[in-house]
């Protein structure tokens, strides 16, 4: 008598956990359009770090352990997008003038060698 009841209870618990996760995904519109997903990611970025910090503080208070303070990560002022575009333009302009520049330098080198040989 106990085991069918227990198996039914297990099935109900598993079903409720799975159903809860499915409802959470539906409610937060995580599988919807890209705008909603981006908004959900921004909300998560705002909520998760303070929650993690508060949880770590709570664990430290309860257990008496002290988590060492990590130094702040360095902030870069390097904008990849802008420097990538200017880098591409520089490389392409250099490639476009490369043949004429190579001819010019070859001529100059040849003239220099002729002067030296004389």
């Amino acid at each position: 008598m106990v085991s069918p009841v227990w198996s039914m209870m297990r099935f109900l618990i598993k079903g409720s956990v799975a159903g809860g996760v499915v409802y959470l995904v539906y409610d937060q519109e995580l599988l919807g359009s890209s705008n909603k997903s981006q908004a959900a990611l921004q909300r998560a970025e705002e909520v998760v770090p303070p929650a993690m910090y508060q949880f770590s503080q709570y664990v430290c208070e309860q257990t008496g352990l002290k988590i060492p303070q990590l130094p702040a990560p360095p902030k870069f002022n390097f904008h990849i997008r802008e420097s990538w575009n200017s880098g591409i333009m520089t490389v392409m302009s250099a490639l476009s003038v490369a043949p004429s520049k190579a001819c010019e330098y070859t001529k100059e080198g040849w003239e220099y060698l002729k002067e030296r040989i004389k």
Partner: protein, 78 residues
């Protein structure tokens, strides 16, 4: 399409990909643990579904300015 708009679309696409793959992975993990006896295939299935949905959204987002939407109009006999 201007460069800033293209950059915004790429940002949206990447954020969408991360969220959908994570959601698919999470759903697959939950179903794997609850109903499918800790098998790997629900996790792989969920992650793959998430990736496919994200790719479809990205494709639609990038093609949106160039797609023409028309509707079929029946001939009216006068």
């Amino acid at each position: 399409m201007s460069e800033s708009e293209l950059g915004r679309k790429w940002d949206r696409c990447l954020a969408d990909t991360v969220v959908k793959i994570g959601t698919g992975f999470g759903l697959g993990l939950v179903f794997s643990l609850t109903f499918f006896k800790r098998r790997m295939w629900p996790i792989a299935f969920g992650s793959g579904m998430g990736l496919g949905m994200a790719l479809s959204n990205c494709q639609h987002d990038f093609q949106a300015p160039y797609l023409l939407h028309g509707k079929y109009v029946k001939e009216q006999k006068q």
